[in-house]
Amino acid sequence: MTIDELNEIKGSYIDQRKRELEEGVVTVDVHMGTCGIAAGARGVFSALQGEIERLEMKTVKLRVTGCAGLCSMEPMITVHLPGQAPVKYGKLDAAKAREIFYSHVLGGRPKTEYAIGQGLEKPQKRVELG
């Protein structure tokens, strides 16, 4: 491993994310730390996964990430819609996750009643946006 290879890994990851962005791929991060799982994040995850499989959606990417820090609002998800600030949702269950899936992920209309906030914390950034 050299610095070139390191940069190559970084570059190819960013390229892949850019391609996804151009294809309009919506990324949904389910925050599944121990706290999230204890609050029911697995149910949220499988609900979202179930909908994606049912609709055979190729343009929705489900990711598992760690705890977002606000344990009292778990289970949480973050929806990254291309061209839109990421929206964090909290206190979800399977039914609410499905609502968000149709309304926001597929329909592009954020579900404000479940939203906590939008944007990313400093110094987080989306590498693909440069």
């Binding site: 491993m1 050299t2 390191l6 890994i9 970084k10 990851y13 960013i14 962005l21 151009e22 309009g24 925050h31 730390g33 121990t34 706290c35 799982i37 909908e51 609709l55 055979e56 959606m57 343009t59 990711r63 598992v64 990430t65 760690g66 705890c67 977002a68 820090g69 606000l70 344990c71 009292s72 609002m73 949480m76 291309p82 061209g83 839109q84 600030a85 929206v87 964090k88 039914a95 499905r98 609502e99 149709y102 309304s103 597929l106 329909g107 592009g108 209309r109 954020p110 404000t112 939203a115 906590i116 906030g117 939008q118 944007g119 990313l120 914390e121 400093k122 110094p123 987080q124 590498v127």
Partner: protein
């Protein structure tokens, strides 16, 4: 004609049916049949599509266009129009991302905006199982910088310059520890990461290992390079299965990519990391006990010196740091020690992750610059006290720490100020208590914890803590005497002065700090035989105060044994022979009329 629509999702919730009694499925089936698309466009039933007051609606996929089905008339015509329109997702407009006006920005939410993320910068942001994602977020760049552009001494200098102090509790300067470990020319040397987070109410290390394991690994690798070690161990308690799983995956990925193993990054540096699941003894979080535990011996602290940096694991020089300490290292090397020193206070630099729990509205992980005052942490980031209760105390540092009161809320959270006030930074557990907590009971809880977890090696901790617990229990059941308070204090001071290791020395802290700041509560227990917070059941008389009673009868309804009789417009009467002292009535009474 080929329709771009591949699926139609329709809303089948009861709310929509009530609003418009239309059988959407039958309607869609009929329409698609007539149009000849029955086999090509699938129908998917959903619970809710957009919002119930607009339903019933259908959604055309892909694309997500929504149409409200308001009437059955001419639906086939409408459907024909809908499915022939292009449905491709619209590309995001270039430039700034679109902001939704009704959702607050993160920068306006105190919980997020008042934090400063260094260690937790990747929280909930990257997939912990993907090493590519970590690398894309500047991961392993610090390791590369250390191995190719810095000498081991240079790395240690940078860490010393940063002023980083150990995040496990004691606050020992990390650079000095690394320098010590480098000094001895005995090989092999070891790097140990202490992930045995045992304090009640502390969970920051767990979260860190779960959400950003590579940062911990990278910090350990840099440490190995700096002190001349080739082997690292991560000691994680077995109660953290997800953390162990994430670390295993991370180590595996790092090995495959060549960040662990022989000749790392082509520089000739060899280093590998293994995981040691701890069996769950609190004392194994103490460094020397932890090392015995890895060696397969009974986890008990030993007398220092020699320090672990001289003779640690298997008698070799060993550098042991906390998870959070290691996670700081990559950022220090990337941005420089001076940058890190500029954050926080003079003698406590950088940030600290606190796990904020208890009676606050926002429970969670909080990373703030050192020196942020407790009021900001509890009332601004934490959102204040939950419910109608009032702030009473904050417990810092777990069973080794102490309770502070409202008058300490202005204190900047640094290693030294908290110590001076009778609490400690500890690993960073912050348990906020409201006025429904009895401080004697809190002291008993933590003493009980220390009694259970005492390793038993030295007498003051093994026997002394038991005696201390006995005195507290005596007070709690109402048999305490005024002289007990002085004896309690004397006993606590003795244990602190004569215990063998840090755990025993700090174990009386909860008692000492509550005695110092809440002596009046102890006095109420021993002199008036009364528990002001109505927690200690034996000291509650279970009487209805006829004047305070608003004659609502709620208490009579919640009583499981019908010990309370109540008639309209009359104060409730409690029959103490029937009462089982479950406190259901006390919790239910809004007027605090039962005590």
């Amino acid at each position: 004609m080929i329709s771009p629509v591949s699926k139609i999702a329709y809303c089948a919730s009861r709310t929509c049916r009530f609003r418009k009694p239309i059988d959407v499925r039958a309607l869609l089936e009929k329409g698609l049949d007539e149009l000849g698309y029955r086999d090509r466009i699938g129908l998917v039933e959903t619970e809710c599509l957009i919002s119930c007051f607009q339903g019933p609606s259908i959604m055309l996929l892909p694309g997500g266009k929504v149409f409200q089905v308001l009437s059955e008339e001419r639906f086939t015509e409408t459907l024909r129009g809908l499915i022939s329109e292009p449905q491709l997702p619209t590309l995001p407009p270039p430039g700034e991302p679109r902001i939704e006006p009704d959702i607050p920005g993160i920068e306006h939410i105190d919980f997020f905006a008042k934090q400063r993320l260094i260690v937790l910068r990747n929280r909930g942001h990257i997939d912990a199982e993907s090493i590519e994602e970590y690398i894309a977020h500047d991961g392993y760049l610090a390791l590369y910088k250390a191995l190719t552009a810095m000498t081991p001494e240079g790395v240690i200098e940078e860490v010393k310059l940063s002023g980083l102090r150990g995040r496990g509790g004691a606050g020992f300067p990390s650079g000095t520890k690394w320098e010590e470990a480098r000094k001895y020319a005995t090989f092999p040397k070891y790097v140990i990461c202490n992930g045995d987070e045992g304090d009640p109410g502390a969970f920051m290390d767990r979260s860190l290992m779960e959400s950003d394991p590579h940062a911990v690994l990278e910090g350990m690798m840099v440490c190995g390079y700096a002190i001349g070690a080739r082997q690292g161990y991560i000691y994680v308690r077995a109660e953290y299965p997800l953390a162990i799983q994430m670390l295993r995956t991370a180590i595996d990925r790092a090995r495959r990519k060549g960040f662990l193993g022989r000749n790392i990054l082509g520089t000739g540096f060899d280093f590998d990391i293994d995981i040691y699941p701890g069996a769950g003894a609190f004392v194994c979080g103490e460094s020397t006990a932890l090392m015995f535990s890895i060696e397969g011996k009974r986890g008990m602290p030993r007398i220092k010196p020699p320090r672990s940096t001289e003779s640690g694991l298997w008698g070799r020089p060993t550098c042991l740091n906390n998870v959070e300490t290691f996670a700081n290292i990559p950022q220090i090397l990337l941005h420089g020690g001076a940058w890190f020193r500029s954050i926080g206070m003079e003698d406590s630099t950088g940030t600290k992750v606190f796990s904020l729990t208890g009676a606050v509205k926002n429970v969670g992980l909080v990373e703030v610059p050192m020196g942020t005052d407790l009021r900001t942490i509890i009332f601004e980031i934490g959102g204040g006290i939950r419910g109608n209760a009032h702030f009473k105390a904050v417990q810092l540092g777990g069973p080794s720490g102490g309770c502070l009161t409202e008058q300490h809320l202005h204190l900047p959270a640094t290693f030294d100020t908290l110590q001076a006030a009778g609490a400690m930074m500890g690993s960073g557990g912050v348990v906020v208590m409201d006025d429904t907590s009895c401080m004697v009971d809190v002291a008993r809880f933590f003493t009980q914890f220390s009694v259970d977890e005492s390793c038993g090696k030295c007498v003051p901790c093994r026997v002394g803590l038991k005696v201390l617990l006995g005195m507290l229990e005596k007070i709690i059941v109402g048999r305490g005497e005024p002289s007990d308070l002085d004896r309690l204090e004397r006993q606590a001071v003795h244990i602190a002065a004569t215990s063998h290791c840090g755990l025993g020395q700090a174990a009386p802290n909860p008692v000492l700090s509550t005695l110092r700041y809440f002596r009046h509560e102890y006095e109420a227990h021993v002199r008036e035989k009364r528990c002001p917070a109505l927690v200690c059941t034996d000291l509650i008389r279970f009487e209805v105060d006829a004047e305070a009673c608003k004659r609502c009868g709620v208490c009579a309804k919640v009583c499981p044994v019908e010990a309370i009789s109540w008639r309209k417009k009359e104060p409730a009467v409690l029959n103490r022979d029937k009462c089982i002292r479950c406190k259901a009535c006390i919790r239910a009474c809004k007027f605090k009329a039962i005590h």
